[in-house]
């Protein structure tokens, strides 16, 4: 049989697609009169060759893992949750309230409390669209888009009018108490006096995101609920035959999705800025869509895709530091990566498949 082997599909196809994306990015860089090889070196240098670079890459990765998982869980129930951005924002409100109003004695307790609050707030923000979809048939894509905008306004109101300490210019909450500050990689891994990971925002939340990957994997493929979610996603009529309530699954899947998106704010709000700021989500909710789709809605794929996007975010920052390349270049590179690995992957896969098929035939003959 000349079927394409699994490794080729899992590794070769994405790799070639990435190369294509890199090639077109290079053309764009040339087009604006810069040197693509230098640019690439700068990115790799800054993102992967220094511990602090890794510290940034993994910080972004953590965000994308959470939002990617959020999109993926909903996708398994055939729900397109574009609302990760808003859910993460409101999750941040949960983190802020938990950290500002509860005197945590130690960060280990604070992270538990903050995660719970983030998850609850994120889930709550996802609940209304989920409920409306399940009960009233309001299209979840519209309602989650609307809820993103509404979340912006809610957050803006809270920060300007409620949480902002008097006299502060910044629309941001007060800083969280010292006791809640999460250990970052520098504190965790750097030997005494070493500069390893210094200043980088990656923190213990990264491991929380890995746990979330495991959680989602177990949930989706190892539990009854996951079975329900997947079967509902593939066929609503069949799920009804099996006795699964569409309303229940829609709501539960979206609650989990919203909770995961909300938990991203543990990384940004508690882990990095240590106060609630207006734009801590920075579009990670949308990148999550690309991450989930590229990662084929599987935690391992999502982890890989999140790493790739983390690398691009950090590498792009390095590029911005040392060159005159406009920061939009990174957006273009990200777009090309999404395009080639996500949407045009068949362009690579189809000829490869044919190649393997012919090769297999010849061998058999």
């Amino acid at each position: 049989m000349g079927k394409m082997p699994l490794w080729a599909d899992a590794i070769l196809v994405p790799l070639i697609s990435l190369l294509l994306a890199a090639f077109f990015s290079a053309i764009v860089i040339l087009g604006i009169g810069e040197n693509p090889i230098e640019a690439f070196n700068l990115m790799v240098d800054g993102a992967l060759k220094r511990s602090a670079g890794w510290g940034y890459t993994l910080y972004y990765t953590t965000n994308y893992i959470f939002t990617g998982l959020a999109v993926a869980v909903a996708f398994h129930a055939r729900l397109f949750n574009i609302g990760g951005e808003g859910q993460a924002m409101i999750g941040g409100v949960g983190v802020a309230l938990a950290c500002l109003y509860i005197p945590w004695p130690h960060w280990s307790l604070a992270i538990v409390g903050a995660s719970t609050a983030a998850a609850l707030f994120g889930a709550a923000w996802a609940f209304i669209p989920a409920y409306l979809q399940a009960k009233r048939g309001s299209h979840i894509v519209i309602t989650t888009i609307m809820f993103n905008y509404i979340a912006f306004s809610v957050l803006g109101y809270l920060l300007v009018e409620v949480l902002r300490p008097t006299g502060q210019m910044d629309p941001a909450s007060a800083s969280f108490p010292e006791a809640t500050h999460l250990p970052n990689f520098h504190e965790m891994f750097a030997p005494e006096g070493s500069r390893m990971f210094r200043g980088a925002p990656a923190n213990v939340t990264f491991f929380l995101s890995l746990l979330a990957c495991v959680f989602v994997w177990v949930l989706i493929w190892k539990t009854r609920l996951g079975y329900d979610i997947r079967s509902f996603g593939f066929s609503e009529t069949a799920a009804k035959y099996a006795g699964t309530s569409p309303v229940r699954i829609t709501v539960i899947a979206m609650l989990i999705s919203g909770a995961l998106a909300g938990m991203m704010s543990v990384n940004t709000t508690l882990g990095e800025s240590e106060r609630l700021i207006l734009n801590s989500t920075e579009g990670a909710g949308f990148v999550g869509i690309a991450v989930a789709l590229m990662g084929r809605n599987h935690p391992i794929g999502i982890l890989m895709a999140a790493l790739l996007f983390g690398f691009l975010a950090q590498g792009g920052a390095e590029l911005a530091l040392w060159t005159d390349i406009p920061r939009e270049l990174i957006v273009v590179i990200q777009a090309l990566v999404i395009l080639f690995t996500g949407a045009l992957d068949n362009m690579v896969r189809m000829p490869l498949e044919r190649l393997f098929l012919n090769f297999g035939r010849k061998e058999n003959a």
Binding site: M1, G2, K3, V218, K222, T223, R224, Y227, D228, R230, S231, F234, S235, T237, A238, K240, Y241, A242, G243, T244, S245, E353, L357, G360
Partner: protein
């Protein structure tokens, strides 16, 4: 039925057609000739490659190699447009209609006479009227396809072909979803078409149809053409053997029933659907242990709703008891899981949309609907290893081919998909088995096997409620037959004391005492 003179060119000739779907060789070097003015049957097991071959002829798939001759002319058919131009029409196994278009819109789609619709529609309306008169193909031109019965939908497909002036008509398993009356009607039409000199290719799993209506028959196996014979020179048994490669039992082999206690008791059951139409209008029915009760009837007379109520995914009023236990018919506790807990297993009518998750592997499907049961749990997780092992064993015993539990359901043929569903439901050892259209589109080898399994279950003292539009199947498999018409039961008969004619009348809503 005079055979055309030898000098007239063949209507159709395929030479050395091969087609692979990736690694699957669906057609291997197939050659076939069809004479004009004949009905040419094609039979073969599920997955033998029949539909693929015909789809190639219709330009739906492109052959890897081979040549097509139409009326003696070598013809290149790169797409369906070319096939239509060459006078070929095809009625697919799964209809290719736009469900929320009207009949008329479906008819003209692709065959419009100009950029504006109005003249095309007017012309089509007129032509349709002539065609309807000529061939007794009545359909309301302004009806939505989704509101039509399957039989009518099929008429639309045939009309589509005739509207395009096809003179070679391919029908892929046309009677799989038709009632006996509709099937008879179809064959009358086909006969008339043949008399007009049109050529018809008929794919079917039903040997009776082959024997009764075809002139020639070709047999396919595993992508190859194994034989082409004159129908009059062969017998059902002979064909079955050619097809499956072994002797097949064509009759259901069963002892008389020994009914025991009343297990399933239905009283005054009423169903109103979402649109507010009353689908089931007060049914009383009892099924005892150790008997098979068959429900016959033209599709759309409330049988499906009956099964759905009993299966737990349709609300109803009235009373249903199992072993004396009243079942809730709406709200909480009226879902599939509760029904299974009450001892009801259900092989649904539509295996692909209801019975299986096509993207799930066979082992995952082997517990579909039962996946909440403690038996399959391992703490808070599912016991996937255990389920896999059981599934592999089950597939072995139910002769599912290929016996690969990791293969996705969509990659099994229809017959084998059905076996997976039947295996799952029977294995639970239910008190009541609901079973809808158990052999629709399934090849004779698999039919034999599935029927045998149902009879075995009966003999273990289970109550079985069978719904089928195949009268033949109901008569041979059931012990008692109830006929449904317009949401009501028109009458009950012992299977051994009735015949197709009597049932046929009941199915048409004609009651009254017959002998």
């Amino acid at each position: 039925m005079a055979a055309p003179a030898a000098s007239t060119p063949l209507a159709l000739e395929l030479k050395g057609i091969s087609k692979a779907f990736g690694p699957v060789q669906a057609n291997k070097d197939i050659s076939i000739s069809v004479r004009p003015g004949t009905i040419h049957g094609i039979i073969g097991e599920n997955g033998a490659g029949k539909s693929t071959l015909m789809s190639i002829l219709y330009g739906f798939y492109k052959a890897d190699s081979g040549e097509i001759y139409i009326r003696g002319q070598k013809t290149n058919i790169p797409d369906s447009q070319a096939a239509i131009a060459a006078g070929i029409g095809m009625v697919f196994q799964h209809f290719k209609l736009v469900e929320n278009f009207t009949v008329l819109e479906n008819i003209i789609l692709g065959a419009e006479d100009g950029a504006l619709l109005r003249p095309s529609l007017a012309k089509a309306r007129k032509t349709l009227k002539t065609l309807a008169e000529e061939y007794e193909l009545n359909v309301d031109p302004d009806a939505m396809i989704e509101d039509l019965s399957v039989g009518h939908q099929q008429r639309v497909e045939i009309l589509k072909a005739l509207y395009r002036q096809a003179d070679i008509l391919i029908l892929d398993e046309p009677t799989g979803v038709l009632t006996p009356a509709e099937a008879d009607q179809l064959f009358r039409i086909l006969d008339r078409l043949r008399k007009e000199g049109k050529t018809i290719i008929l794919i079917t799993h039903k040997l009776r149809e082959i024997m009764e209506y075809t002139d020639t028959v070709s047999v396919m196996r595993r992508g190859q053409m194994t034989a082409t014979v004159q129908t009059k020179d062969t017998s059902p048994e002979g064909l079955a053997e050619l097809m499956v490669g072994r002797k097949v039992l064509l009759q259901v082999d069963k002892e008389p029933a020994k009914p025991g206690d009343e297990i399933l008791k239905i009283e005054g059951l009423r169903v109103v659907d979402e649109a507010g139409v009353e689908r089931v209008k007060g049914i009383d029915l009892t099924v005892r242990a150790g008997e098979i009760v068959g429900i016959a009837g033209v599709a759309g007379n409330g049988q499906s709703e009956l099964l759905e109520v009993l299966g737990g995914f349709q609300d109803a009023t009235g009373s249903v008891t199992v072993n004396g236990q009243e079942l809730p018919l709406s709200g909480h506790g009226a879902d599939g899981q509760a029904r299974r807990a009450a001892g009801i297993a259900h092989v649904p009518e539509d295996r692909q949309k209801e019975g299986l998750i096509m993207e799930f592997s066979a082992w995952e499907n082997s517990v579909f609907g039962y996946h909440h049961e403690p038996e399959y749990q391992n703490g808070i997780l599912m016991d996937n290893k255990g389920i896999l092992a059981k599934a592999a064993d089950q597939m072995e015993r139910f002769d599912v081919r290929p016996p690969h539990p990791h293969l996705a359901a969509k990659n099994f043929s229809g017959g084998n998909q059905q076996k997976i569903v039947v295996a799952r439901e029977i294995e639970r050892n239910p008190d009541v088995l609901l079973i809808g259209q158990p052999t629709r589109g399934v090849d004779i080898g698999a039919i034999e096997f599935i029927h045998q399994q149902i009879v075995n279950l009966r003999d273990q003292g289970k109550a079985i409620l069978l719904v089928s539009v195949e009268l033949e199947e109901v008569l041979s498999l059931a012990d008692r037959v109830a006929v449904m018409f317009d949401g009501q039961i028109m009458g009950e008969r012992n299977a051994s004391e009735t015949d197709e004619k009597e049932l046929g009348l009941l199915m048409a809503g004609v009651t009254g005492e017959t002998s």
